[in-house]
């Protein structure tokens, strides 16, 4: 009969397609995704602005013979976080006017060996100290000349003297960046798992509440319906994460917020993998919970404990990330249900060794197999029971 088709896979495909398309076309999803993408781009841009704000610019005006100090000052005081802009002014009065109006932070005038420095209330300490040192050098050079000593060799000796800076962790800056990315990945995964898990639970209850479940289960096996729903909604989550993640990566590359862009790519891919694993795990539990009630109003009572579990994994992140070498913290990050939030975050911070990722994935897959068995059993036993909340004993045994 050519009008009839339908293996198990085709049925699941039909369900996946419906679950995905009806939601992907909804205004809620489209507007939500655009909003998330805008938020993400905005967040990265704000970060970029903060980082550029971190460079302090000090405007110093010079007048008269004090101009001799201008070039040495701007060179000596410049660093990663400080920039000195120098300017010259025809008279002291002109310069002071600029200081009062706020255009200049300081006006240096008079003899370079004893200059007057006018400021509104205070001056950047690095600029003050550098200026101070320059003046002392001028005085020293003059004194040496007066004493008939050639200042050259002594000056070079003095300039050569200094502290030996020992850098213990050259990656500290990268580490901070990675931690920012790690927190971000943890938050994103936690929110995505919570949100999409709730969508699955609501979808299960929807079918019970409007009784279409009876028609569906007269033609589809409960497991097909369960898996179709979980996969369809999961794909929706993947699409949303990919869209938002792409915006994040592009924004990061354009603004240069993160100095090593490969961190971003690894984090994004790790995040996706762990979303998939974590989603299947939590979605099955959420679906089982949803199948036990018949009205959306009752959904909270069964999903609250599951949500708490997710909140717990998120809170655990802060303990784990601040103790990257603590064996207990590492162990927790390997275990379901914590791994889906902790592992991608630890991958982003670069704390997770390859073997740890491997072990966590294997454990997670094992947990999914177990959850699948348990959740499908609860779902099958509960989903046709309309009315009051299904008791655990009923959900477990299926008997009345």
């Amino acid at each position: 009969m050519d009008v009839i088709q339908g293996g198990v896979l085709h049925t699941v495909f039909l369900i996946v397609r419906r679950e995905f398309l009806t939601r992907a076309r909804s205004r809620f999803f489209i507007i939500g995704t655009i909003l998330l993408m805008a938020l993400m781009a905005g967040y990265v841009v704000v970060q970029a602005v903060f980082i550029s704000k971190a460079v302090t610019t000090v405007n110093v005006g010079f007048t008269g013979s004090a101009q001799a100090l201008a070039q040495p000052l701007s060179q000596a005081a410049r660093s990663a976080t400080l920039k000195v802009d120098t300017s010259t002014w025809p008279s002291v009065d002109d310069g002071l006017r600029q200081v009062r109006s706020g255009k200049l932070d300081a006006l240096v005038s008079g003899d370079p060996g004893a200059p007057d420095v006018a400021v509104m209330n205070d001056l950047n300490p690095t600029v003050t100290a550098t200026l101070d040192a320059l003046v002392k050098q001028v005085v020293l050079t003059r004194a040496l000349s007066t004493a008939g000593v050639q200042p050259g060799p002594i000056e070079s000796k003095v300039l050569g003297a200094g502290i030996n800076l020992q850098v213990l962790d050259p990656n500290a800056k990268v580490r901070t960046e990675r931690e920012v990315v790690g927190v971000f990945v943890a938050i994103l995964l936690y929110v995505a798992l919570l949100m999409y898990g709730q969508i699955v639970a609501a979808g299960v209850v929807e079918e019970k509440a409007n009784r279409i479940i009876e028609i569906l289960l007269s033609t589809v096996r409960p497991r097909q319906l369960l898996f179709g729903k979980v996969i369809g909604i999961g794909l929706l989550g993947v699409v949303q994460l990919v869209l938002v993640g792409t915006v994040a990566v592009i924004a990061v590359l354009k603004t240069g917020v993160v100095s090593v862009p490969s961190i971003e790519v690894v984090s994004a891919l790790g995040g996706l993998l762990w979303f998939a694993l974590g989603f299947v795990f939590f979605a099955l539990i959420f679906a089982a919970g949803g199948s036990m009630v018949s009205r959306q109003e009752d959904l909270g009572s069964v999903t609250a404990p599951i949500s708490m579990l997710l909140v717990g994994t998120y809170l655990a992140y802060f303990w784990v990330v601040s103790n990257p070498t603590n064996p207990a913290a590492i162990a927790v990050s390997l275990l379901p249900p914590f791994a889906p939030v902790l592992m991608p975050a630890r991958m982003a911070t670069g704390d997770a060794a390859a073997w740890q990722v491997g072990v966590a994935i294997v454990l997670m897959l094992a947990a999914i197999v177990g959850t699948n068995w348990l959740a499908a059993r609860i779902y099958v036993n509960s989903v046709l029971r309309v009315g009051t909340r299904v008791r655990w004993s009923q959900a477990w045994r299926g008997a009345d």
């Binding site: 050519d2 039909l14 419906r18 409007n210 009784r211 028609i215 007269s218 033609t219």
Partner: protein, 315 residues
Amino acid sequence: MRRGRILGAVTATGLELHGVSKSYGSLVAVRGLDMAVRPGEVYGFVGSNGAGKTTTMRIVLGTLFADHGAVLWDGAPIRFEVRRRIGYMPEERGLYPKMRVGEQLVYLAQLHGATEAAASSAVDRWLTKFGLKDRARDEVQKLSHGNQQRVQLAAALAFEPLMLVLDEPFAGLDPEAVDSMSVVLHDQAEAGIPVLFSSHQLELVERICDRVGIIQKGRLIAGGTIDELRSHGPRQLWVDAPAAPHGWTDALVGARQVRVDGSRVLLELDPGADDQAILRAAMATGPVREFGRNLPSLLDIFREAMTESAAAAAS
């Protein structure tokens, strides 16, 4: 082509239930139920609330498992491939309220095994037939109650079902919708599909059904064609002899007067009693304006069966 298997001398086609029982804890919902719905037949399932109609239908569809007994299709235990092609209308109607009518019907038909092309053309056909073609792109929740019912029926039809199982399909329908629904059921039966439906509305069942099963407390207490059920009870005659003296029926042999309606009397005949003797006795009193069989309505049969079964349970 219908696969039939010879059971004894009869070719068993369509749906059969043999000794089906189902309990919920201590509550027995269905006990030892035997029934059959043949191809081309409209079978009406009658009973009070909680009698076990819905439970029986769910067992047929496989959304509930029977504790005992067997459900057969064409003589063999019913398989999932057959069950998924039963058109079902649950008593609690259910559709996705926010999904579009056409899209939803095509989806459901595909779940029942129809190809996308076959589903689309069938949905188109049924929506046209129900006058809902221009509503195909509307969300189900935007339709009136009656139109939602029509969509629900279309959901049971749009995949060329092997059988129809309709739980209270007439509940909440206006008379016009009742008529179009009955026409659809008859057309389906004529196309060779067994149609099983339940209803509280006995006069409707009487009008539409080829065969009726009366279920009470999970037991089928009467079953057969309306005529068979009628012939089951005692023979009754309405006699109108306006000139007859009061109490003229007392002298009759093998007949008792059970009701009086003006000059008309209702007589209940003993088995084997001669109705011609009664006619002669009536004519002896004067003119006879009416003399005829009293055909009990399905409601009478239903009441009778309930009383009998209650009496049997008491003894």
